[in-house]
């Protein structure tokens, strides 16, 4: 049991985080909490990708030692961590930041328009204002 947890600690962490995030996105009625859930969800996916790239006994993907021009350099794939997931996740982080920015802007507009960020109150006030129109 203990070994199982240690071997899969990365998956346990990202699965738990994903479920927390997903629960917050679908189950919470406060819009800010939904947004927080969205962020947790996105970050757990980033952990997932980075853990795909992990490689036992390897180091960060930056060429070590002297690397002047013309120097003979033998690079072993097993010596460095897989750089591709890191690259993908840099992009995913940026996407997450951008989405959060836009969502926050929308939340500001919602709060200005309706004075609440609770979903049920919001629905009530939306109905009231559409009836008034």
């Amino acid at each position: 049991m203990g070994d199982l947890i240690v071997d899969h600690i990365n998956s346990i962490i990202y699965i738990v985080l994903m479920m927390i995030g997903f629960y917050a996105m679908t189950g919470k009625t406060n819009l800010v909490k939904k947004l927080v859930g969205m962020n947790i969800f996105q970050w757990s996916i980033i952990l997932f990708f980075v853990s795909i790239g992990a490689k036992r006994g390897s180091t960060i993907p930056i060429v070590e030692g002297e690397h002047g021009h013309g120097a003979e350099l033998v690079l072993e794939a097993s010596h460095y961590v897989n750089p591709l997931p890191h690259v993908l996740m840099l992009t995913a982080i940026v996407v997450g930041v951008a989405t959060t920015g836009v969502a926050l802007a929308l939340l500001l507009r919602i709060y200005k328009g309706y004075g609440t960020l609770e979903e049920d109150q919001l629905l009530e006030r939306m109905r009231a204002s559409s009836d008034a129109r």
């Binding site: 490689k55 993907p61 750089p83």
Partner: protein, 92 residues
């Protein structure tokens, strides 16, 4: 309907666990992710691009179109927030 989101979360979690158990072991140097495409970046990257940081080499050269997309995403967010929030008065 009240517990629908709990059920949905549970099903998602089950799917995640199911999929993760079938994934290669964590940190396995022989996993497909470490042995199919990425070795080229590590072994040839420095020779082909003269950049020692492989992440930068992949980010800005091999997959530079992704990074252009990433920058466009940021630009889109900037213009989108401007479109959503800024009024004419601020601009003058």
């Amino acid at each position: 309907m009240k517990y629908l989101h709990l059920v949905v979360t549970g099903v998602t979690g089950l799917l995640l666990i199911l999929g993760t158990l079938a994934m290669p072991d964590w940190g396995d140097p022989a996993s497909p992710a470490s042995s199919h495409v990425s070795p080229r970046y590590i072994e040839k990257g420095f020779e082909e691009t003269a950049v020692p940081n492989m992440v930068t080499a992949v980010l800005a050269d091999y997959r530079s179109f992704d990074t252009l997309g990433e920058t466009v995403v940021i630009f889109t967010a900037g213009v989108a927030v401007l479109l959503i929030l800024r009024t004419r008065r601020d601009e003058d």
